[in-house]
Structures are given as structure tokens and as C-alpha cells.
């Protein structure tokens, strides 16, 4: 196993270098460069040349490439042209929590919905319920997303006035805030992560005792304690008002994203479940007289989880890339919007930095999936 991971890491590193090279040359293939922003009759030619030189744009492409790769290997992603002299890392760090927050919640919600509905669909195959849900899911999955997002904004924000139209906060509430939005994002992310860990540990620990009463005690005690700690952090916190403001703004984009994405998961789960339900051990379970729900949830669904897990882990990697359309339509300034603007402005270091992060995480996710397979399916062994 360790040898396998070692080999994969080496392969991954080489692949990452090829990926960076391709990125660099693809982005540089655009006509013009960032110094075009200074095509202003009031700026003398010499000054434009100085600006180009400051950003290294006066160098031949091969030299720019070597310089850039040299810096990358030293962990230096460079400085943003459009936000000079801020480092690329600083710009990405500003946007990352916002995207991570939005897309993690949306992804989890869509996978939860998709998995739950998928297994029910497979179980009730052939009924009108299956046809209705599948049809609805496919329509949402194939809908023209920018249009759908605008319709959602119009209906829920403009017409019903339930949620804000766009942005991730209400400026007038934040103007005297004693901390930045990213501080609040960090608090939300960490507290939710700890809550999730707490709930997971409770579930894991509750399986250890043989006694049913002890299992329940540990399970509900752990759940209660996790939520209590969560609330103990937030209720007295001066960040609560600001966190709820962010949550309020996040409801519509998360809901919209989940609606569009859940159908894919649902169809994967349904297909996988249908295959699993044909297995002999399911027949055996039925023959033993187990309750249908137990067969569905304990025997079939768990084994149908493998492709869904793969899709989920790989999907998490691409969360960082953000949703270019989502972030633009909902005016949510995250990684997707940053990528779009940096490409439009030919802010090459930021564009490469953003995409490199997605690429690196995608490669890591592939290794994680490979390793996860071993744990999820004991039949799999890597030589």
C-alpha cells in the first residue's frame, strides 16, 4: 500500500508539472498581456514599458516560463498584476473561505438529497413516484443554469422577498463590524467542522458497546454534547449576528446549487443500488426475513455507496475552483469569480495560482479515492 502511494505521489508530481506548463502556455496564448490595461494616451510609452518590465512581461515567453516554474518550485506563486503588489497567496486566501463555505454546504446538501432519493428510487423501481422524481431531477440537472439561478433570485429574493438578492453580506450591517468577513467565515467553517467531527465520533463510539441502551446513551449524549458545544460557542459570540447574515445570504445559492446538482448523485445512487439489489446476499437477506428498510439501508445502500463516494471526494476537490456562474450571478466573491476576472484582466499569476490549486487538490483527491476504496471494499488490494 505504502509503495503504491509513493509511486502515485511521484506520478502525481510529474503530472502536476505538466499541468502547470499547459496552464502557463494556454493562458499566455491569449492575445495581448496585462500591460494592455495601461494603453492610455496619458501614459508615455516609456512608462508602459516600465510597467511591463515590472511584471516581467518584457521577457521572452520561455524566460517567463522558467522564472515562473522556478518560483513555483520554491512555493512562490508571485504577485497579482491587477492587485499589485499583493501576493497571489494573499488574494487566494481572501477568496478561499467564501467559496469553501458555499460549495461545501451545497455539495453536502446535494449529496445527502441525491443519495437518499437515489436509494428510494431504486427500491421503488417502476412506480409513478420514481418516474416523477427522476423526471424532475433530470430537468433540474439539465436546466440552463444561469437562467435557473436568475429565476430563483427573481422568485425567492425579488418576488417573495425571503432572502437577499445577492452578495454574501449586508454592507450596512457590517460597516462597524470589529472583524472582517473572513474571520466570521473561518469561525463558521471551523465550528461546523468540529460539529461534524463530534457527530461522527458519537456515531462511531456508539457502535462499540454491545448493550443497546449504552449505544443509545453514547449516541444521543454525543450528539447533544456536540450541539451544546456548538451553541455554546455561537450564542454568546459577538460574531453571531454577522454569521447569521452570511448564512441568510448563502441560503439561496446553496439551495440553487443543491437543486441542480442532486439529480446527478441521485441517478448514480439509483444505478448502483439497482446493481446491488441483484446480488445474492440481498436475496439471502430477504430470505432471512429482514425488514425491507433494513435490507435497503444496511445491506444495499452501503454497498452502493462506492461510486457515490468517488464522485463526492472528487467533487470536493473541485469545490475550490468555485462556481464561476454561481459566484457571478449571486455576486459571491469567491474563487470562481476571481478566476473569471483574472483571466479577463490577464492577471496570469492569479489565474494560474487558482487553477493550480484546483489541479493539486484534484490529484490529491484521486489518491484519497484510491485509498478509500481499500477501506470501503475489502476485496480491493493494490500490488
Amino acid at each position: 500500500m505504502l509503495r503504491f502511494i509513493g509511486v502515485r505521489l511521484v506520478q502525481m508530481s510529474l503530472l502536476f508539472l505538466v499541468f502547470l506548463t499547459l496552464l502557463f502556455f494556454l493562458l499566455q496564448a491569449q492575445p495581448g498581456d496585462f500591460s494592455r490595461q495601461f494603453l492610455d494616451p496619458n501614459i508615455p510609452a516609456e512608462n508602459r514599458d516600465l510597467i511591463a518590465a515590472r511584471f516581467g512581461l518584457d521577457q521572452p515567453l520561455w524566460r517567463q516560463y522558467l522564472t515562473y516554474m522556478g518560483n513555483i518550485l520554491q512555493g512562490d506563486l508571485g504577485v497579482s498584476f491587477a492587485r499589485y503588489p499583493r501576493s497571489v497567496v494573499s488574494v487566494i486566501s481572501e477568496r478561499l473561505p467564501r467559496t469553501f463555505f458555499l460549495f461545501t454546504f451545497a455539495t453536502m446538501l446535494s449529496y445527502y438529497l441525491g443519495f437518499m432519493l437515489g436509494k428510494v428510487l431504486a427500491w421503488r423501481r417502476g412506480g409513478s413516484q420514481e418516474m416523477g422524481i427522476t423526471l424532475g431531477g433530470v430537468i433540474l440537472y439539465t436546466v440552463f443554469y444561469p437562467w435557473f439561478a436568475l429565476v430563483m433570485i427573481w422568485f425567492f429574493a425579488a418576488y417573495l422577498d425571503l432572502v437577499p438578492v445577492n452578495q454574501f453580506l449586508t454592507p450596512i450591517r457590517w460597516r462597524e463590524a470589529p472583524f472582517s468577513a473572513n474571520t466570521v467565515f473561518a469561525s463558521i467553517i471551523w465550528s461546523t467542522l468540529l460539529l461534524t467531527v463530534g457527530l461522527g465520533l458519537s456515531l462511531w463510539a456508539s457502535r462499540k458497546p454491545d448493550n443497546l441502551a449504552q449505544q443509545r446513551l453514547i449516541r444521543w449524549g454525543g450528539v447533544g454534547l456536540s450541539f451544546a458545544l456548538f451553541l455554546a460557542f455561537w450564542l454568546p459570540s459577538d460574531r453571531r449576528t454577522f454569521a447569521t447574515d452570511i448564512a441568510h445570504h448563502a441560503v439561496l445559492p446553496i439551495f440553487t446549487l443543491a437543486l441542480v446538482a442532486f439529480a446527478g448523485v441521485m441517478l448514480i445512487t439509483r444505478g448502483s443500488m439497482l446493481e446491488t439489489l441483484k446480488e445474492d446476499y440481498i436475496l439471502t437477506a430477504r430470505a432471512k426475513g429482514l425488514a425491507p428498510k433494513t435490507i435497503r439501508d444496511r445491506h444495499a445502500a452501503r454497498n452502493a455507496l462506492l461510486p457515490v463516494t468517488t464522485s463526492f471526494v472528487l467533487g470536493l476537490a473541485f469545490i475550490i475552483g468555485g462556481g464561476l456562474i454561481t459566484e457571478t450571478v449571486f455576486s459571491w466573491p469567491g474563487m470562481g469569480e476571481l478566476l473569471l476576472v483574472s483571466v479577463q484582466n490577464q492577471d496570469i499569476p492569479v489565474a494560474i495560482g487558482s487553477l493550480a490549486m484546483v489541479g493539486a487538490l484534484a490529484l490529491i483527491a484521486h489518491i484519497v479515492v484510491d485509498v478509500l476504496y481499500v477501506f470501503l471494499d475489502p476485496r480491493i488490494r493494490y500490488q
Binding site: 491569449q30 492575445p31 495581448g32 494592455r36 495601461f38 494603453l39 492610455d40 494616451p41 496619458n42 501614459i43 508615455p44 510609452a45 516609456e46 512608462n47 508602459r48 514599458d49 516600465l50 510597467i51 515590472r54 492587485r83 499589485y84 503588489p85 499583493r86 481572501e94 477568496r95 467564501r98 445527502y112 429574493a157 425579488a158 437577499p164 438578492v165 445577492n166 452578495q167 453580506l169 449586508t170 454592507p171 450596512i172 450591517r173 457590517w174 460597516r175 463590524a177 468577513a181 449516541r219 450541539f227 453571531r240 449576528t241 454569521a243 447569521t244 447574515d245 448564512a247 441568510h248 459566484e327 457571478t328 450571478v329 449571486f330 455576486s331 466573491p333 469569480e337 476576472v341 490577464q346
Partner: protein
Amino acid sequence: MRSLRKRGGWLALLAALALVAAACSSDDTADTTATTADGGTGNTTTTADGGTTDPDPGGAGGTYQTALTADLTTDNYWSYLDTEASAYNGFVLGQSHPALYTLSIPNFLVVPVLASGEPPETVQEGDVWTATIPLREGMRWSDGEAVDANDFVFTGEVAQEFALGSNWLTYWPEQVTGVEAIDDYTVKITFTEDQPGLSIYQNGVAQSPIMPEHHWASVVEEARGSDDPKAALYAASGLGEPSAGTNVFNRWEQGAFASITANPDYYYSGTKYTTYADLSWTQSNGSDVDETYYGAGGGEVLSEYTDGPFVDEIIYSEYGSQDAAYLAFQEGDVDYVFNPSGIPTGRREELRSIEGLEFAINPSEGFRYMAFNLRKAPMSDPAFRQAFAYVIDKEFVTGSVLGGAALPIYSLVPEANAAWYTDEVNKWGFGLTEGERFQAAVQVLTDAGYTWDVTPEQVVDDDGNVVDNAFIDGEGMRQPDGTAVPEIELLTPGPGLDPLRSTFATWIGQWGERLGVPMDVNPTDFNALQDKTFPPQTAESVLEWDLYMLGWGGGDPSLPCTSHQAFFGADQDSVTGGGFNTPGYNDAEFEALSEEFDLATDLTTARSLCADMEKNISENLPYIVLFSTPITDAWRSTVEFPVTDVLGGLNGYPNGWPGQVLVSE
């Protein structure tokens, strides 16, 4: 028994609902309602038509919420005028720093701010020229420090020592060789051996923003010791920097919003500015400021407004797209959208159906044009260019085809810039019918020696009468030397980027074909188009284009012919000078006018020379100026701007009126 997972799901759902409910609940400490200084009834500003009540300045008038259609990229004023020069940064930061002089609104005349009185004449001292400018006392930064000559000197020294670029270079060009404080309230500027013209002195260094030395001195000192002083200077945050303008920069939540607050100690707070029909201009606050420039004052009032600030705070929300910004505007989240291009055509009618909005349509200072590559035949032939000037019917395209979305123009200086505009340019074909334009163009080409296999002409019916708007296209067109006219490529932005230019190009292509010119109208990616036509170019690469269509904007309305020099000066040739003379225009008369313009030290001379430069361009046609687009602005009726008729729209000068705008409940 219900499974834990199911119960956990419900709990999660409940928790999410609780968060939403908490977010939706009112928060007394956070919500702010816009109120007015006079108790919510709304202030009124004095206007040209004799408005009623003077507003109360001092910033007690609520919150003005606006939208930016692009992100703010810096809060550092040094950087904003160099690498981060953008209109959006200007909206937020633009009104915080004083200058010796600024431009009056709406006539763009140089008027004093920190300086006391009009710009003194430069005097020759040995080999150099100097200007000694007295400053007014009593102006203070928002932290209480005096604004004085040392701040101005500090600014100039840093700009030149750190070789700050872009706008700083315009303010502190190499012709300014020194600056010193004679005393706390007198500065002396030294120029090179050539007497500085308006662009170097009155419209250059005299309008340089002044930075507070007591705030920046330590940053500058630290930057000097770093590996990259300029980067170190630009990396410093501008938060906490004192202001001597109407507003103080307050907060920046990156990607979300920025806010500026009223500067209650603003020197000119409560000062009334009046522009009269004879262009004279007064500023008066009833006590220590009572001055008149460019005339005696009095007579018909063109505009009148009072300086604030009148609102406590201005919030600039950053939106990822124009659509998102206008959606927020429609929903009442913001009072005004900052968009340098004005409201997009498709959205205007939609906004007009919303109650409680007011609109203004203003001329743009920019223009769209078609450029000829004068380095190649037949574009190098004036007759060829004149033929195109004749057949291009701007009134027809802008009026009948584009439905008034654009305005036909004949000069680079817009008509709305009355002080500099001249009507005495050659308006080729203006007032002629389509047939007459066609005949005039064919005649010009024939006189110059062009020939055709099939001569272009108007259709004549059986009775020998000329049929209106029916033509026989020319074919086999040959140049005076007998060689065939090659296919002429017209590069234009595609309809996705600019449908107006794209439409114009299509018509120009048709009119060219009618004359017998083989035309290839090529919609091109904007960056690719710039790459092909703009500097840097080589002697070979510059021959790769024939005609292109682009636009210019953002010139200096107080000295507009500096743009003419940049676009047509021989030293600005895109090949030899790396400048914006893309056509390769090199005309002795224009060069002489340009040289005189540089040396002009008074407005009357400069305006006369500028008019002559306009005439020269309209005769020789390196560009055919085509059209401009009016700027449409909309704002909530709870907002009141001091002046709404201004060149470039409300986004323009002075950055959306942050110091003069009023809001009511």
C-alpha cells in the same frame, strides 16, 4: 425506531432554519435607516433655477448606498494613481486628497483649492522657469494637522524619487525639475529651460493630489530601505490615512463593500460654487472664501451648488457583474450604480418602468472612430479617405439604424465641452442625400485618377431620371498607378462586445463595396484587435492592418487637445515612437500647431490652436470620427445630485459627487 441519521437530518434542518430565522430577525444595533439633517423631510440644494433652501453640510444626512460594477483593487492612494488606476478605485478614493488647483464643474476651468488665487505666471530665473504659489492657510487634514507646502513638496519628491508612473508621471513629468517650500504656505516649482505650457503647469503639476506627509513619511522611509521601494509603498494600506477632502476612507471588506465617511472639518464645507453664462466662476462661503475667477461674475447662472459633505457615510457595494448591480438597484438595495459606461441599452427601458427613479442623459467625452493605415496604399491617398468620409452617412446609421442609441459626431472634442469645441471642421457630406454623397465620393476618386472596369454610378431609369437610392456597384477598381485596389480589411469589435461599432462597420463595408473597394469587414476579438493595431509595433507588423474601428474615452476635458497630440503627433508613431499614432500620421502643419500648443501659456491661445488641430484632422482624415454614445444614469428619487447635466454623466467629474450628494428618507 427512527434512525439516528434521519433524526440528525431533521436536527440539521432545524439548525439551518434557526440560523436563517436569526438572520432574518431585525437587529437594532446593525440596521441603519437613512435620515436627513432636517428631520427626514429632505434637504434641497440651491440650483440654477433658484432652489429654496441651502443644505446643511457636515455629514448628518444619512447613508448613501451605491453599487460598483467591478471590484475595488486598492485602498492605497499612491497605487491608485499608478498601477491600480481604475475608475472604480477613483469613485471611492478620489475625493480625499486636495490639490493646489482643480477643475471647476461643469466647465472644467482651473480653479484654486489649496492655492490662494489663480495660478501665478511662471518667471525665468537664469536657465530655468519657476512658479511661486502662495497657499491658503486654515486647511487641515481630518486628524487636525495643517495642510501646507511641506505636504506638496513631500508628494512631489516621493513621486519623482520612487519613479511613480501613470498618473503620477502626468503630474510630475521630467519637465518639473524641483519643488521646494519657501515657507509653510508658499511653494516654488522649478521647470526646465523651456517655459512650461498648460499641460505641464496649470493642468499638470498644479493639479497633483497632495499626500499627508505626517502620515506617509514613516512608510516612505521604510520603503526606501526595502528591495523594491515602490512595491513597499504600494503595499501599505490606506486605511487610517487622514483626508483633506469631503470624505475619509473608512472601511474595506474586500470583494464586498467599501465605505467612506463625511469629513466634518472639510475646508470648503458650505461653500457655494456658481458658474455664470460668461464662464466666470465664483466660490463663496460667506466668510473667508469669496473669490471670482475667469470674469467678474454675475449675470445668468449656468449652475450653482453647495459643497458638503451632506451624508454621514457612503457605502460602495462591490458586485461581480453589471447584472447583479442593477438587480440590487431595482430591488432598492442601492441608490445608484457606478458604471462608467452608463446604463446598458437593454436595461434602460426596464428601469424606466420602475417608480421612484430619476434619469439623466449626458453626452460622453469619448468617441468611436475608424482609423486608416496611412503607411499603405490606397489608405495613404487623401482622396481615398475623403471618398469614405463622403459615403459614411453617420446620421443615417445612428438615427435610422441604431435608433438614436448613438450620436453622430465630426470632431474629437465633444460639443458639450463648449469651451474647446469648434464647429468649423470639415463635415464631409453632411446634409447631402445618399445619392449626392455617393456622387461626391466617386468624383473625388475619379479626380484623383482611380479607374474601374465597371464605374460606380446611380441607376438611371428609361426616362433618363436618376433613381433614388439605386446604385450600380463599382468593379475592378484600380489605383492612379494602374494597380488593382487590394481587398481592404476593416477590423471591428464583434457585435457581442459592441453592436454599435459592428453595425457601423457593416454599413461602411457596404458603402465601400458600392464604390468598388473590395471590403472585408472582420469582427475581431478586442484584445486581438488591440494587439494588431496598438503599440508596440514594428515596421513589418504595422502593415498587417488596413482599417480598424475602436474608441477613445477618458481624455482631459480641460485640455482636450493633448489627446490630439497623442493620437496624431509624429513623435507618437506606434512604430517609431511607441505611441498611439496608429495611422502613422505625419503632417507638418499639425506638428507646428502641436508645438505651439505645448508652449501655450494661456487658455485663449490654447483653444485657438486646439481648434486648428481639429480642423487639420478633419481635413486630412487619419481618423474618421464616427459617433459617441450618450451616458444614461438613473438614481433613486431620494437622492439629489447638485448638477445632473455634466459631460461624461454623473459617474464622471467629480467621481459621482460624494461630497455634494444628498439623500432623504
